[in-house]
């Protein structure tokens, strides 16, 4: 399949006229028609004739200086505004909401010549870890369709794994890129807070929300990040920090000078044994590449869920206050039970008499997390952690037990309050064939270092090349 190729390989093939954008689109739509009915990854599939028209234009326009993303089919989590196209956040509250403007990340990709083919299923408003909190029916895992794809950016991850698009843009507030990336055997990056503009992205928890790339490989994510990162005057929280040439820098690393820390709290009780084993084997693999491995301790991590489930619901109760069905969409009675719970917890935590005990306490906890990470990064350069405590759950399980659902985020909720970047990448499979991912966490704005370590790992492993049987059969 053409879609097995990396972005760099595809860009080269397009430039050398070995194949065309039209060929890529034809292949994507063929796979989508065959596989999507089994996994339900899309909310909106752009009409093929419209997409083919753009692909023809791209083929005609291509020059040697075109972006590596030029002419490549991509997908967006349905949380990004796309002028003239439905943007639903997977919620009936936004029924019929046709965007009136473009999110910056979408505009940047259009400017680079990339081609949008669909807007993807997700947990409504980003509220969830299994992609079952959606008004568009759950996304199924392409490695086992009796299981969930993960969330909240589940549609993106499942579609990329199943070769329906070359890359996608997800959104991560407490693991929403990394969790589905690891459950679908793809690579995904939660960027440093402010690295990519949030303008035009439907807000979940504004001080945690990050916009990031999802793709088959680390180097694909590096190429996408290069295109979407950078200063945007429309987002005041966006950083002026210069954007390095991530792709060019992929090999600029001295492994023997890089210390990788394993926080012991992440490898204790509650972690599935197969995930523990795979992550430890990955650490050994990195060690054999020359990286120095060091066990460290980060006791504050234990309080991750407590801080997250106070601040994120508080911010979401405020952000979702604007949905009143007057200017667009339907009324507030259409929020799902999961979203109601989060809005109500936030409302409670912010209400008179409880503000100091809950919201303020959590914001103080946030300061302690920042200190905990600062301390960890005096002992190592990169942290290696699991992404999820267990493999993808069976469909319906998290719906039956919504409280267990919250615990899936245990390893991914502490980075967002701190703002640090984290790269999730494949590191194995369970005995039953379910994907396992790990995450590499760095200091603020060290995406380049995370890419370098991740890329080094992907040069000597082939987990990321294993496709779901579903498409082999298709």
């Amino acid at each position: 399949m053409l879609l097995d190729k990396t972005i760099a390989e595809l860009a080269k093939g397009l430039r050398n006229k070995e194949f065309t954008s039209v060929d890529l689109i034809e292949e994507c739509y063929q796979t989508i028609n065959q596989v999507n009915p089994k996994i339900n990854a899309f909310i909106t599939l752009i009409k093929k004739p419209d997409v083919l028209k753009i692909a023809l234009q791209r083929d005609a326009q291509r020059t040697s200086s075109s972006s590596p993303l030029h002419g490549l089919p991509f997908i967006l989590k349905d949380t990004y505004n796309t002028k003239g196209i439905l943007t639903s956040a997977a919620s009936h509250v936004l029924n019929g909401h046709i965007s009136q403007y473009n999110a910056t990340v979408y505009q940047k990709l259009l400017d680079a010549g990339a081609i949008l083919i669909g807007k993807m299923n997700m947990d409504a408003w980003g509220h969830g870890a299994t992609n079952e909190n959606t008004d568009y029916k759950p996304v199924k895992n392409p490695y086992d369709t009796s299981r969930v794809a993960g969330g909240s950016s589940g549609g993106n991850a499942a579609a990329i794994a199943a070769r329906m698009a070359v890359f996608g843009i997800g959104e991560d507030t407490g693991g929403s890129i990394r969790n589905p990336a690891s459950w679908n055997n793809i690579t995904g990056l939660k960027v440093t807070y402010g690295r990519v503009s949030r303008y035009g992205c439907i807000a979940y928890a504004s001080s945690f929300d990050t916009v990031g790339p999802m793709g088959k490989t680390v180097e694909d994510c590096a190429l996408v990040l290069e295109t979407i990162a950078g200063k945007d005057p429309y987002d005041a929280t966006n950083s002026p920090h210069p954007v390095p040439p991530y792709f060019e820098e992929l090999l600029n690393i001295s492994s023997k000078d890089t210390v990788i820390g394993l926080p012991k709290e992440c490898f204790s009780e509650g972690l599935d044994l197969e995930i523990k084993k795979s992550t430890e084997v990955a650490a050994k693999e990195l060690e054999s590449l020359g990286f120095r491995i060091k066990e460290i301790s980060m006791p504050m991590l234990t309080y991750g869920l407590a801080v997250y489930y106070l601040i994120a619901p508080s911010e979401t109760s405020s952000n979702l206050g604007r949905y009143d069905g007057i200017r667009y969409g339907l009324g507030r009675e259409y929020f799902t039970p999961e979203t109601r719970r989060r809005i109500m917890v936030g409302t409670y935590a912010l209400s008179a008499g409880y503000y100091d005990a809950y919201y303020k306490k959590a914001q103080q906890g946030r300061t302690l997390f920042i200190k905990e990470y600062e301390k960890a990064f005096t002992q190592c350069d990169v942290l290696l952690m699991p992404v999820t405590p267990h493999p993808p759950t069976r469909l319906g399980k998290a719906v039956d037990d919504p409280m267990q659902n919250l615990l899936i985020d245990v390893y991914t909720v502490t980075q967002n309050p701190v703002g640090v970047p984290s790269l999730a990448l494949p590191c194995g499979f369970t005995a039953t064939g379910l994907p396992i991912g790990m995450q590499l966490v760095g200091k603020m704005f060290t995406e380049s270092l995370l890419f370098q370590v991740g890329h080094a790992y992907q040069q000597v492993t082939d987990w990321h090349k294993r496709k779901p049987n579903l498409i082999e059969a298709a």
Partner: protein, 103 residues
């Protein structure tokens, strides 16, 4: 497992009202337990000593981000566009529910 934190029907009703979320009586009953579970979970934080710790509100490292006070026509919607997604409009305006009831 029984929650340590308990919410009464009246508590849930009050929070729902503050959040402007319509909930049925059956939903209220479920929420009593569910909200209790989440508050139990976040209450773990009470073990942490935060005396004298400054709260963190944002992590951008930026202070006072300004822009020129100029109209950006790129970001303007014409009236027709702005109203296009609304269910109820009247003479170029959004129609909203009355807030004050008539005598």
């Amino acid at each position: 497992m029984k929650n340590k934190t308990t919410f009464s029907a009246a508590d849930v009703h009050h929070i729902a009202q503050l959040a402007n979320i319509p909930v049925t009586e059956a939903e209220e009953k479920k929420l009593e337990t569910e909200l209790g579970f989440i508050i139990d979970l976040v209450n773990q934080l009470q073990e942490v000593d935060t005396t004298g710790v400054e709260p963190t509100h944002q992590v951008t490292g930026q202070i006072n981000v300004f822009r020129e006070d100029e109209v950006d026509e790129e970001r303007m919607l014409v009236q027709e566009e702005a109203l296009r997604n609304a269910k109820n409009t009247h003479d170029g305006y959004f129609v909203v529910d009355a807030i004050f009831e008539e005598e």
